[in-house]
Amino acid sequence: MGAQQAGWGGRPVLVVDGSRTPFLKVRGKPGAFAACDLAVAAARPLLARQPFSATDLDEVILGCVMPGPDEANIGRVAALRLGCGERVPAWTVQRNCASGLQSIDCAAQNIASGRSGLVLAGGVESMSHAPVLYNHAMVNWLAALSRARSPGAKLRAIAGLRPGHLKPVIALLRGLTDPVVGLSMGQTAEILAHRFGITREQMDAFALRSHQRLDAGHRAGHLDEIEVLYDSRGNFYDHDDGLRADSSMEQLAKLRPVFDRPDGNVTAGNSAQVTDGAAWVLLASEDTVARYELPVIGRLIDSQWAGLDPAQMGLGPTYAMAPLLMRQGFDSTDIDFWEINEAFAAQVLACLAAWQDAGFCQTELGRDTPFTPIDESRLNVDGGGVSIGHPVGASGARIVLHLLHVLEREQAHRGVASLCIGGGQGGALLVERTTG
């Protein structure tokens, strides 16, 4: 069964190429690369191997949740550093954990409508570089100090400093906490685990499998979308360094819960790793592909965004994938491979449970029959966020790119990439390999 017209209407949207950096685990202090460095490092070799020049791009779109203070409109900064030239417009999108998918969706829209013919779209996050801020009391104290004129007033202002003023605001932690319902992302995963009866063992087993799959993928050379990163100290990085090939159920079982202490089940071991990384895909219209004689690795068919209770944001993929498949008349069996971002093992397992739950499908997704269960051997076949890491802005672009590589490798036809999104949303994208 062939797909119907692209979800964006208008012209077909083709994927030409893509690349990403290795995802580097955050080790407590700012890593070697700021977000823009990562974005540039991933795209430079990608552009260097194209038959066109960087200045031939029609636009650059980059997803990023938390750019650094020197990275306002990080998309434009990256484009200029990549040598795209002054004339190539560039912009930045933010939809939390799906920012990298949002950029691809925007690019697809512009290609379908005919506004763009050749777009570099991707996502980036340097979570290790997330800002640490002064708190409000400190800012007020600084303001008072700068207003004070006379020496006496200055002295009084200085005397107003309290130890509490020095407590920093960790932007990363704030960013991973829902400001509306006041829950950390990990707590939303605990809620889902409770709701769907997912045990600690199930979570840990899922996490272990993620690491084993990534390890196998690395060994088999299935992650050739990774471009080597070089820092200024003579080091290079050519693989996802959060991988624990030697992990075991025993080791995972030893870890303490980090979000609901002491009785919860979500641990650092069965959650996505906090990492730095960037991923890009190169999208083109049919005539651009013909003009430069570009290879085509796949086409984007349709996308879907969905909203849900922020306290259960991890179910986002079910809410987004259901209408996407139903619109095309597909069931799970029509999809060859799946990439569902592993924010938390519990969260992916909850999605799988909900997907085949008659009650959930009826009340929440408006289906009389539940979906066929997703074949886990076709889901995240080379690991996911738990083992690879989840640099929030980058993951969306990573899973789309990797899904296309998996389809190619397996000579398969159709795939779905989906993510849950902090704040209570889900996003999903349907892709096909052209030869199918």
């Binding site: 430079r44 070799p45 260097a48 191997r49 550093r81 040598g83 070089y230 003579g234 290079f236």
Partner: protein, 681 residues
């Protein structure tokens, strides 16, 4: 007069400010010749009679303000009196300007050197453009003289003795902002505000800048003797007095006359008049023109490459790549694996940090340099530089791989230091595109690049290679594709003689002292250690196989036991933290002279041999190659210049003496005979 108003043009604006434009006729660069000085003098006299609100002096040349005195005119000065006349002329014109009661501004963009800076110092205010191209300097010491048109007399009171002397003794240049920080410049503004800033200074006429109390104190009669001693000691580290008298003369003038402008002006003129006829100054001027000659070699081609691909990320390849990126090229750096490229990226970052300082510019330079272990850059590069290890087979294999992927008009350059190009071209379908670009280590410091022309290299490619060399701010020296090319070939007998001396039991420290005494920047033993004894041995073997020379056994022995020089911690010397440990040595003057003779005679003999074989186009080019490629005593003007001034006949006779005493290796090259003929002894 025929030359009236050729070079200067005065305009008066609605504020009654005179704008005096310097636009030297018949030249792209403003310099002071005698006639230009006369004309400036007439202009200044006539402006004084107009009683304007103020005077602004500016340049109409896009490249800069004033490059200084016309150095060409130095070469026409033959007597001390002629020199004195030229110096007094400049002083009288600048004194007239300095004596103006109306406010005067020097409006400076681009370079402002020597006499240009001295003119600016005679103005009440100085305004510079805020950009990297604007540099101010008093670089006279580099020509063996020191400022003589009031430079030292006016700079020392303006910024204090310490800062002023530092500038004049090193000859280093300052950007506008640095110049403002020390008080040399009053205002540093972007191009768009240059004229407004000059006008503001004239209309507001603020009190001229004064140095801080500490800087004033450095000029006091109490501080001067002490500071002068310190300065002499520091200068002596870089330039011994017997070879470079100018800085010492300048220190003496300052110590005796600071705070007395009149006396200092007179002393300046007298001293420069003496120095300018000294062989050191004459030879340094000769070297200056040699440099200009090399710079000119890049001008025959309008070649504008954009992308450089370097294969081989070792010390040379990596440093060539980062240097090209520093100079604005897009560069891809290829090697077999990321671990081979990573150290080069680290060195590149260190280079950019040192040279560029601004984080934004460092990032931009890093962004221009793409580590490329897959060789993606080959297909896009305009010029490919191969810098892999010295093995003709491997190089040929690489070329066979590269050539089909290269653009058809791309240049293939090899950084080989010893393999003749003819051995490499057989792998190529387009042998005309192969040229040698032989860089010297360290790339960021050594200005020379030997442009090696093989039998098949086309004239166009050769010209393009020289143009490219200039674009990366290096000096191209065209040489034939003979073993060792020029520099290594001439250097090798000198290094081998040092090894022989050492194996005869002469202390390495003594050998090095004899060479530095001659004026070499580093002794041969330490040089061999820094190059690496294994590399020396390799090059020596290549040369020996072609020129039937002998290699001292000692070298092979050291390499065999792993004493490879600085990199292994031990060679001839021992190294602690990268520095040679040199035991104290003593030797008589006669002994030092004997050592120096043996070293230098072998070097000079090989130079004569290269001239005879026409490895380079002229004696001048040979001199330039040895000075910019090895640092050969610049005050001697280069090996051929040295032979000429010492007398070829005497040197040849000395070689013959050495032949009977030390062996065949001193046999005078047949080329001496023709030198003998042309110079008549």
């Amino acid at each position: 007069m025929t030359d009236t108003d050729n070079h200067f043009r005065a305009e008066t604006d609605s504020d009654n400010i005179v704008w005096l434009h310097f636009d030297r006729a018949g030249s792209g660069t403003n310099t002071f010749s005698t006639e230009a000085l006369h004309e400036l003098d007439r202009q200044l006299q006539s402006i004084a009679t107009q009683c304007p609100r103020g005077l602004v002096i500016l340049s109409d040349k896009p490249n800069g303000f004033i490059a200084g005195a016309d150095i060409e005119s130095f070469t026409r000065i033959e007597t001390e009196q002629q020199a004195l006349d030229f110096l007094r002329l400049g002083q009288s014109v600048f004194n007239r300007l300095a004596a103006y009661t109306l406010p005067t501004v020097a409006l400076i963009h681009g370079f402002c050197m020597g006499g240009g800076t001295e003119l600016a110092l005679a103005c009440r205010y100085r305004v510079t453009r805020d950009d990297p191209a604007t540099r101010l300097a008093l670089p006279e010491v580099r020509l063996g003289i020191h400022p003589g048109w009031g430079g030292s007399a006016r700079l020392t009171p303006l910024v204090g003795g310490l800062k002023a002397m530092d500038l004049m003794l090193t000859g280093r240049s300052l950007a506008g902002r640095q110049a403002k920080r020390i008080g040399l410049v009053d205002s540093v503004v972007p191009e768009r505000h240059l004229r407004a800033a000059a006008r503001r200074l004239i209309l507001e006429a603020p009190a001229p800048a004064r140095p801080g109390w500490l800087d004033r104190l450095s000029n006091s009669f109490i501080a001067r003797p002490l500071l002068a001693t310190v300065m002499r000691r520091q200068v002596a580290k870089r330039a011994p007095q017997e070879h470079y008298p100018a800085p010492y003369a300048l220190i003496d003038i300052w110590r005796q006359h600071a705070n007395d402008t009149g006396a200092m002006l007179e002393a300046e003129a007298q001293s420069v008049a003496r120095l300018i006829n000294d062989p050191t100054a004459r030879n340094l001027v000769h070297v200056f023109f040699l440099q200009e000659q090399l710079k000119g070699l890049g001008r025959d081609s309008d070649y504008r490459p954009e992308h450089v691909h370097v294969v081989g990320a070792g010390t040379m390849g990596g440093d060539i790549a980062s240097w090209c990126a520093l100079r604005g090229f897009r560069v891809t750096l290829q090697d077999q694996s990321p671990e081979r490229i990573a150290p080069a990226m680290q060195r590149a970052h260190a280079l950019f940090r040192r040279k560029l300082k601004q984080p934004r510019e460092i990032t931009a330079a890093m962004d221009r340099l793409l580590p490329d272990h897959k060789g993606l850059g080959v297909a896009r590069a305009d010029i490919i530089i191969e810098a892999i290890f010295e093995d003709a087979d491997v190089k040929r294999g690489l070329y066979r791989e590269l050539e089909p992927r290269m653009k058809t008009d791309a240049i293939l350059a090899t950084n080989t230091s010893s393999i003749p190009l003819e051995e490499l071209t057989e792998a190529l379908a387009r042998p005309g595109q192969l040229v040698g670009l032989h860089f010297f280590n360290p790339v960021a410091k050594m200005q020379l690049v030997e442009v090696v022309n093989g039998a098949s290299t086309t004239a166009e490619v050769s010209a393009q290679a020289m143009a490219f060399t200039r674009q990366i701010d290096r000096l191209p020296l065209p040489v034939t594709s003979t073993p060792g090319f020029l520099v290594n070939r001439i250097l090798m007998p000198y290094l081998m003689e040092a090894v022989t001396l050492e194996s005869e039991g002469v202390a390495p420290g003594l050998i090095d002292r004899a060479a530095t005494g001659f004026g070499m920047p580093m002794g041969p033993v330490e040089l061999a250690d820094s190059v690496g004894l294994d590399i020396c041995l390799h090059v020596a073997k290549v040369l020996a196989s072609h020129f039937n020379a002998e290699i001292p056994e000692r070298l092979q022995q050291l390499v065999d036991v792993g004493r490879l020089g600085r990199k292994s911690g031990r060679g001839f010397y021992e190294y602690r933290k990268g520095k040679a440990v040199k035991p104290k040595v003593s030797g008589s003057d006669a002994q030092l002279e004997e050592i120096s003779d043996r070293l230098m005679l072998r070097l000079l003999n090989e130079a004569v041999s290269c001239v005879r074989e026409q490895v380079v186009g002229s004696n001048d080019l040979l001199d330039a190659g040895m000075i910019f490629g090895t640092g050969f005593a610049p005050f001697r003007g280069g090996p051929m210049h040295h032979i000429q001034s010492t007398g070829a006949g005497a040197l040849q006779a000395r070689l013959q003496q050495c032949t009977s005493r030390y062996g065949e290796r001193f046999t005078p090259d047949p080329g001496w005979d023709s030198l003998f003929d042309t110079q008549g002894g």
